[in-house]
Symmetry: C2
Subunit: 196 residues, 2 copies
C-alpha cells in the first residue's frame, strides 16, 4: 500500500492569471516560494515522487482564495525549475472556474476552496504543523501525514486555532527557521529514511 505524503503551503501569491515570470518574488508576491516548495515536494534525480500530493491556497489579489493541488501520480511535463513550475500555476489560474474543480494540466487541479474546507476534506489524515516550538520530528511517530507550512509569513491565529480544533500536532525540525521549501526537502528525506 502506498503511503501518501500531503504537503500544504499557505501562500500570499497573486491570483491573477497574468503572472510576470520576470518578477515572481515582487509582483508575484513570493510565488517563487510556492514554486520551490513544489520542486522540493516532488523531484528526485530520476523522476517524480508519485506518493506526494501538494496543496496550496493562494491568498493574494485580485481573486483570493484560489486552491491549487499537484498530484505526483498524474503530473506530466513540468520541469523542476521555478519558471516552469510558475508557468503551470499560471495555466491553472487561467483555467480557474468559480463553480467547479478543473484539472488545468495533467496532475494540476484548481478550485475555489478555503482552508477550513481543505482541512475538513482531509480529516482522515493527521495534520502536522511545522513550528520551531513543536515537538522534535525525531520524537514523533508520523502516520498518514498532512504537513502544514506557511510561506514567508506565519499562519494567522485563527488558522492555528482551526488546526488545533482538527487535532494538528506541532512538529519541529530544529531551532533554526528554515525556508519552507527546505523544510519539505528535509521532511521528504526524513520520511524516506524512517518509513522502512
Amino acid at each position: 500500500m502506498t503511503t501518501y505524503r500531503h504537503f500544504y503551503v499557505k501562500s500570499h501569491a497573486i491570483t491573477s492569471p497574468s503572472i510576470n515570470l520576470r518578477d515572481l518574488p515582487g509582483s508575484g508576491k513570493r510565488l517563487d516560494i510556492v514554486a520551490r516548495c513544489i520542486n522540493a515536494a516532488f523531484w528526485l534525480s530520476y523522476g517524480i515522487r508519485k506518493n506526494v500530493v501538494f496543496h496550496t491556497i493562494l491568498h493574494g489579489e485580485p481573486n483570493p482564495p484560489i486552491y491549487i493541488r499537484f498530484e505526483g501520480e498524474k503530473l506530466r511535463k513540468v520541469s523542476p525549475d521555478e519558471r516552469s513550475i510558475a508557468i503551470f500555476i499560471g495555466k491553472a489560474l487561467k483555467k480557474f472556474r468559480e463553480d467547479t474543480e478543473i484539472e488545468s494540466t495533467p496532475g494540476v487541479f484548481v478550485a475555489r476552496k478555503k482552508f477550513h474546507e481543505l482541512l475538513e476534506e482531509h480529516k482522515d489524515k493527521n495534520f502536522y504543523l511545522l513550528d520551531e516550538e513543536g515537538e522534535d520530528i525525531g520524537d514523533v511517530e508520523i502516520k498518514k501525514p498532512f504537513f502544514i507550512l506557511g510561506d514567508n509569513v506565519d499562519l494567522l491565529p485563527e488558522e492555528k486555532k482551526l488546526l488545533d480544533d482538527y487535532g494538528a500536532q506541532k512538529i519541529s525540525i530544529g531551532e533554526k527557521s528554515y525556508l519552507s521549501s527546505h523544510c519539505i526537502t528535509i521532511i521528504n528525506w526524513w520520511m524516506d529514511r524512517h518509513e522502512h
Copy 2:
C-alpha cells in the same frame, strides 16, 4: 571559532555572459541547478549562512572552465530565487578576466581555475564526495568539510580518481538519488543538528 562548510558543485552550465534568463535549463545548460544549489547552501528564513562557501566550476561553452565562488560572509543583495541568483552568475561571467580573480559583486568571485587547482588550494580540508554507494552520513564524523557534488551528470572517472588521490571519502545520504540542491539542504540541516 566558526566551522566553515564548503560545497562544490560541478556544473555543465554555459560560460557566456549572455544568459537567457527565460531558459536556464535549456540554453543555460542547467544553470537552474547551480542557482538552486546556491539557494540551498545559503538561505535561512532570516538571513544568509555566513559560515558557508559555495564553489562551482562551469564547464559549458564557450569559455570553460570558469570558477565562481560565493562567500556567505560577504554576500549582499542576492535574493533566493533562481532568476536573481542567475543574474549574479551572469554578472560574474561578464567581469571574468583571464589573468586574475575578480570580486564581481560583494561575496561573488570569478576566475580561471581547474578542478585540480581547487582541490590543491583546499587540501587542508576534508573532501567528502556525495555518492549513493558511500558510507552513510550517520556513520561518518564530519570535520572541516568540503563537500563535492555533481549536477545532473556524474563526475568524470578522472575527477573521481583525483578526489581519491586527495583522500576524499564517499558519503551517502540514502539509497535514493536526490537533486544536488536537495543534498545540500539536507547536509546543511544534518550539520546544524549534529554540530553541537
